[in-house]
């Protein structure tokens, strides 16, 4: 356990009803601000917060695995080795890693169409995830679900979803069953900015509010729903503000900072476990790659992308870790090698796995 420098933004959310709950995010310790920067038009700043060095290194490692995994998948798809479609989470690694780091083993996680990162961060096996993308029997769903439908119930990871917002109600149900069974589990629900305009988002937040269910909503606002900029899809600046309509807190955090995300989720998880209900955490981030294969990205400029790349969460974390002396260049190289090996092992595993037997097609429709 040591002190290390990380990012923690000063985003202000008008929806934060109970200011004190969030003080450890907003002012994680009494040390003064050290550096300002601009992100998506807001002034943010670095602060020192209490954080185990090892934890940060772990985060960095997992973020690297996600990044390399997604880059590899993009490659495999564009080469036609892997069929179908995929939605890479490149640029959004900090949300997945920070949020999952705040959970306990039994907790539930629901994911999205852009879910490889969530699954990896939750401890999913890269080999079986990759095999699923290859449509192989050894994949998490035996090749049936593909990129958008993968789960590991033993990890509490209830799966991605091909319907935008599709797993938001599932999270309600997982939390409800936790409550009915008086377990200490909570449900963490990942979803995108686009999903926040689905009707089931509204219905779910209201149900969770009136039933005081232990849900932590993690909105990955990556600034776009496919080609739709958040500015066109919302008449409000912060999605977190919608929480007020349901009577629970909404907060905005820097989604490119794993620690900011982690602290926010920890606080929300604690709240949920205490029976105090839900929290909506909006993580502002950016999808650095295209929406899916074939996206020409006509709806945004290369300049905007370059600005966003400057805030790449992996670069920022590395910079910070090395500025702090926590991570040497050598360590960095070996961490990256390690992450690349995880990914290439996964590819090898997937390649060497068998396709499902077509005669099993009709098996398992019913339990």
């Amino acid at each position: 356990m040591g002190w290390t420098l990380t990012l923690c933004t000063t985003y202000d959310s008008t929806s934060v009803r109970d200011e004190t709950r969030w003080e450890n995010i907003r002012a994680p310790n009494s040390e003064s601000k050290t550096k300002e920067f601009r992100l998506q038009g807001r002034t943010c700043m670095y602060r020192k917060i209490r954080c185990a060095m090892q934890e940060l290194i772990d985060h960095y490692r997992t973020m690297l695995v996600i990044r390399f995994f997604e880059e590899e998948v993009e490659d495999l798809f564009s080469q036609g080795v892997v069929k179908g479609t995929t939605h890479p989470a490149i640029g959004q690694e900090a949300v997945a890693v920070g949020a999952c780091a705040a959970l306990r083993p039994g907790d539930y996680v629901t994911s999205t169409h852009r879910g490889h990162g969530h699954f990896l961060a939750r401890g999913g096996d890269p080999k079986r995830i990759m095999a699923e993308l290859f449509g192989k029997q050894s994949g998490y769903s035996g090749g049936r679900g593909g990129s958008q439908f993968m789960a590991d119930f033993s990890l509490g990871f209830l799966g991605g979803n091909g319907i935008t917002g599709g797993s938001i109600p599932v999270a309600t149900g997982a939390a409800l069953s936790a409550k009915l069974q008086a377990s200490e589990q909570i449900a963490l629900c990942f979803f995108g900015d686009g999903a926040a305009n689905q009707g089931t988002f509204h219905e779910s937040l209201n149900l969770v509010a009136i039933w005081k269910l232990p849900v932590v909503y993690v909105c990955e606002n990556n600034m776009y729903a496919m080609s739709m900029p958040v500015g066109d899809a919302f008449a409000v600046t912060d999605i977190a503000d919608r929480a007020a309509g349901y009577g629970f807190p909404g907060v905005v955090v820097d989604g490119n900072d794993p620690i900011a995300v982690q602290r926010a989720v920890e606080t929300a998880a604690e709240r949920a476990r205490q029976g105090e209900g839900a929290t909506l955490i909006e993580c502002k981030t950016y999808r650095l790659s295209g929406h899916s294969r074939g996206d020409q990205r006509h709806y945004r400029t290369r300049e905007e992308e370059a600005r966003a790349r400057a805030a790449d969460p992996i670069l920022r974390l590395r910079e910070m870790l090395s500025a702090d002396g926590t991570l040497s260049d050598e360590d960095d190289v070996s961490l990256k090698d390690e992450a690349r090996r995880v990914v290439s092992d996964a590819v090898t595993f997937a390649q060497e796995s068998e396709y499902p037997d077509p005669t099993t097609l009709e098996k398992g429709v019913f339990a």
Binding site: G142, D152, I163, G166, P169, V170, E203, N206, F366, A367
Partner: protein, 326 residues
Amino acid sequence: MREISYTDALREALREEMARDATVFVLGEDIAEYGGAFGVTRGLLDAYGSQRVLNTPISEPGFTGAAIGAALTGTRPVVEIMFMDFIGLVTDQLVNQAAKLHYVLGEQAPCPLVVRTAGGGGRCYGPTHSQTLEAWFMHVPGIKIVVPSTPADAKGLLKTAIRDDNPVLFIEHKMLYSRRGNVLEGDAALLPFGRARCITEGDDLTMIAWSWMSAEAEAAAKELEAGGVSVDLFDPRTLAPLDMAPLEESVRKTGRALIVEEGCRTAGVSAEIACRLFECVHEYLDAPIRRLASPDVPVPASPVLEEAMIPDRNAIVQAAIELVQS
């Protein structure tokens, strides 16, 4: 054996299963104090408390989706969708989530969900409170469909539905809630899915009808019997799974079949049943299979129009006579 109403039979099934298994809970609009629009859940709140009898806001997709999430994580939710007409609001939830997740997530978790709903017309409730829509769900792999017509079937099949590890669409009928009949207690009441019930036996004609139409067909069969036409009348009771064997056997015997459906004719359940019969026993048919169904129109509110639309015992008798004479 006691004679009770279809409503009471349903309530008994819920009570018994809730008593037997603490993971069973019910949720839906106005099911707590109010007891549900048709009174089925009356008294459950007092018996099992507000943790297991959950009134929901008017958010059908949201609470059905929540039930799916709960079903995937170790509980057995029983959802009430007040009128079957509202099932269009939860089609995505039933089709893309409930019916698929077990298969597409590699058989990791069952989804033991029951969705109870009140279907059909006959009460002049108008276009969005009278529809018969089971045909859609026969076309959906991964979901079972129950269409009980008697108190015994209602109780026995609801208990089975709750114990089933799969999503079950359980379609009650608003014209049957007051129907009375004998029911058993506890496990003795259980009835298996996929087992058609033979209501009357006869040689002249095979008749197939479910839900309210089964009751109308029963009345029609009596009338026909009196007129010298003897009917082999079957109620499939579950449409998925569908018990074709006794129907096929009957058609081999009678050579004629009439399928009675309350829903609209085109692409209805009768088309599937007729097709399967044609495929298997066409060489025994003395006349084309006849589908008697509602015409392809929305269900109007006006009593004269609704009556003109939905097949009743008279229409069934007439169709049967035409068929045996053809």
